[in-house]
Symmetry: C2
């Protein structure tokens, strides 16, 4: 059992009484429907209001179902509403227009390479097949995208849309508005799932929830210790969709999987990203799959908390059109467009134990590709800095000037030759558009990987049905989509495939429920 | 969901009716004690009769407890009785006698390096602290060891005992005999665990089992489909120890964690090594930890099934005193004493898709270090071959002769210099005792990694108590030890630490129950 710090143990013992009281209530993961009086009845109940939950909700409601989406937080949208809004759509129309060749096989091969070949190919194939469908669904809801394609790290071609406002909110907000206008639906916040209600045959027929619950980020485990809210029993005639997201902010559970992650390890995720729903599903026999793989997003900044305002500068400018430099040596140390695990591992080696954070650099041509707020906000926050000369930049971060300028000159040469002979960063014109590091002012931001995505979770089949460990068949009435599932991404997810994953399996759940 | 082959799906649908019938019975993982009439009553009930179960049983019985050990198979000892009988004991007396310096820190550092630093250090520390205690327990039971120390791959010093008969049976059989002579104990075979019996407060108070059950290796999932045996309810007043081993032979569950593992992927494990007990424990809230890490043993032979008779030749002769060669190139390709994951990964790269199995080679001086049966049995089976000259050997395996002889000459030079400048194999005198590849006859065996150990499992604390996902505290009445637990070994277990792990946490469970 990985150690929780003394401070946290203390914190825990303070709330011990509450936790113990709950433990008896929780001894069984599920209640039997015969012992329950339902307060209300819906066709479909969805836990979670991010990309997956909204896609499932809209799809199910379109098919005439009465749909209730439950969100435990006061705010709608989970991680989806704060993410970077980049969305991989293999074989999209803009690729065709721009002459970029893509295929299902190419998309799957890119994902498998990052995923260390343990991805579930049948699930990846569903994403490849359906990404254009869900992209169109977001357009129908009113989402807007920039008229250009990004290349997210690890993808072999540009295939990634980005929202017009540069955030996942550019998809979530239109989908919420669209959903709320549909007939016979409701999206209810501050409502926390507690238990599954099962029939005698083991079918999931409803949920025990608490309304008016208030998430408390000061607790070591809100899932176990928080007792706020009023109990209600909700029947789901056709089924339940688990779309509750990952567990990057579950201090206890994540540390058991990787003891190096302490309570203070920063994450890009919102505070409610805990493992509660996942763990309850295991207790009714859902199959755990690849739960130990936890991903760091390599484009975060150590000078702010969470996802912050500085990540998108690296995602869409410095990593694509610039370089990442070790300030001790003045040299590059990785392919800035490699997959996330490869980059995070390389960055951690540079950072070492003495917090030698890499410096992510590009020039004024590069930042023209950014949305205005992705440049202005980090500058305002003081985490992104602007320099008139490379000498000034080097001086500010204590980088050896001569080595640094040699590094920049070499990189610029690679761009001209469209070939990075050192680290293999893709430098074709379609990717970097001839942009070198030449035109002042120059920009720089310190970089650090932060906990970003939990690859593992519940095993689902291609119809988004949760598979039982006991029967190897679907648990009747139970579906799941998005980060709470596992297998799709294998050991490491490629950037911009989360939105495609969540929306696709949300839609599939909505179609099959 | 990883694909099960068409053949297996067919197999599955044949048994579908049975599986469905069981699914309703299994809808809840646990029954309440109020609904149960117990047929018998013990202080301690242990599931599994390998190293961990026997250690727990003997320790608990020594403390005056009435102890029942349940074994689902007809044969006692699970994987323990067929393993290679190598047992790492850091800081042992023979090391001191031979002037080998060791320490807890050194042992833990070796384990962490192989485990990619995600090991649970508190658990490793228990092994380091208690390995000498459990070694003495085995001596007390009558186990016999050779008067020399082995160096298992990835250990930085020789610290590994091996049993006099070269098999885990050299420990299991004396322990079984010892246990059976104790007062108030029983070891019952063909008895299969089905369900936990819980009290209202969630304490584990007993088990539902089936006696006279017959394991059926022809079923895709014996755990779900086998209905043989007669139901019995057994009360455990003080607690239950889960010592049911790993899941290397669980075709369905292992493939979800790594879809590359097909039903035909060979394993060193006995056919009963399935995930049934582990998965049931998840359903009463036991915490899954690092379940996706599955280890290949790099010392197996493709020319026989399972652990076979050829593995120990590589473990104790060819890898320590010889070399492993790529038959296509005639060259070495790895440190033959690296940790298992490093070696298995290297071997798989050589094997590729065209089954280009490496050749593991040593000379007649090297094999003098083997127990007679570890040499004779594979020779008799025809999987280990003997050659008068290196030319004959090369010819037999189609190895380019010139390159092969250069490889041998280079390696012999490394041994003389006590330094492998190519792959960093440790070649100090204490490890290889000046043995080169010089004296005919020469020996060779084809090599392949086989599924060997599942690192992940149930989260336990340093008292071997199973930790609940809900309370982060022990599930009352529930202990676990050995391969069914996770965290100890991180991403990859070092050879010869399994016995130390199983015996240590078995003893700790027996002390704390």
């Amino acid at each position: 059992m990985a150690n929780i710090s003394r401070r946290d143990m203390l914190k825990m013992s303070v709330v011990g009484a509450g936790a113990l009281a709950l433990s008896s209530v929780n001894a069984n993961a599920a209640e039997n429907e015969k012992a329950v009086k339902f307060d209300e009845e819906w066709d479909v109940v969805i836990i979670g209001s991010g990309f997956a939950g909204l896609s499932a909700g809209i799809t199910a409601a379109k098919r005439g179902n009465k749909v209730l989406i439950l969100e435990k937080m006061g705010r709608i949208g989970g991680n989806s509403v704060i993410n970077g809004g980049i969305f991989a759509v293999p074989n999209n129309d803009l690729q065709k227009k721009e002459g970029i060749e893509d295929s299902n096989e190419r998309f799957i091969a890119d994902c498998m390479k990052a995923g260390l070949n343990i991805n579930h190919v049948d699930l990846l194939t569903q994403i490849a097949n359906r990404a254009n469908d869900v992209y169109k669904l977001t357009l129908e809801c009113g989402a807007q995208y920039r008229d250009r394609l990004e290349i997210a790290g690890g993808h072999s071609v540009p295939r990634t849309f980005s929202t017009a406002n540069g955030s996942g909110s550019g998809i979530v907000h239109p989908m919420v508005d669209y959903f709320k206008k549909m007939d016979g639906v409701e999206l209810r916040t501050r409502t926390k799932f507690d238990e599954f209600i099962l029939s005698d045959s083991g079918r999931v027929v409803g949920l025990k929830v608490r309304e008016g619950y208030k998430f408390d980020s000061k607790l070591l485990s809100d899932d176990d210790e928080n007792t706020t809210g009023e109990v209600k029993y909700i029947k789901a005639k056709k089924g339940i969709v688990l779309a509750a997201g990952g567990f990057c902010r579950d201090v206890f559970f994540r540390q058991q999987q990787d003891p190096r992650l302490g309570p203070d390890t920063d994450s890009t995720n919102h505070p409610g990203a805990t493992a509660g729903v996942l763990l309850k599903a295991f207790q009714i026999g859902a199959t755990p799959v690849q739960v130990s793989w936890i991903q760091f997003g390599p484009w975060a900044c150590p000078d702010e908390k969470g996802f912050g305002v500085g990540s998108m500068y690296n995602v869409n400018a410095s990593f694509r059109y610039g370089i990442s430099v070790n300030p001790k040596t003045g040299k590059r140390y990785m392919n800035e467009l490699a997959d996330r695990k490869t980059r995070a591992d390389a960055m951690f080696r540079v950072i070492g134990t003495d917090k030698n954070y890499p410096i992510n650099i590009c020039d004024s041509e590069a930042v023209k590709n950014l949305l205005p707020n992705h440049l202005e906000k980090p500058l305002e926050a003081g985490i992104l800095k602007k320099f008139d000369t490379l000498d000034d930049l080097a001086k500010n971060y204590n980088i050896p000037v001569k080595e640094f300028k040699e590094t920049v000159a070499k990189y610029n040469e690679y761009v001209k030759n469209e070939k990075d002979v050192e680290f293999g960063k893709p430098l074709d014109k379609t990717v970097v558009n001839d942009i070198t590091i030449s035109k002042p002012p120059f920009y720089a931001e310190r970089g650090v990987p932060k906990l970003h995505h939990t690859m593992g979770g519940l095993l689902i089949d291609t119809k988004a049905r949760v598979i039982s460990t006991m029967t190897k068949k679907p648990i009747e009435g139970l579906f799941a989509a998005g980060e709470i599932t596992g297998g799709v991404h294998g050991a490491s997810r490629l950037g911009s495939v989360a939105i495609a994953d969540c929306l696709t399996f949300g839609m599939i759940a909505g179609e099959n429920i």
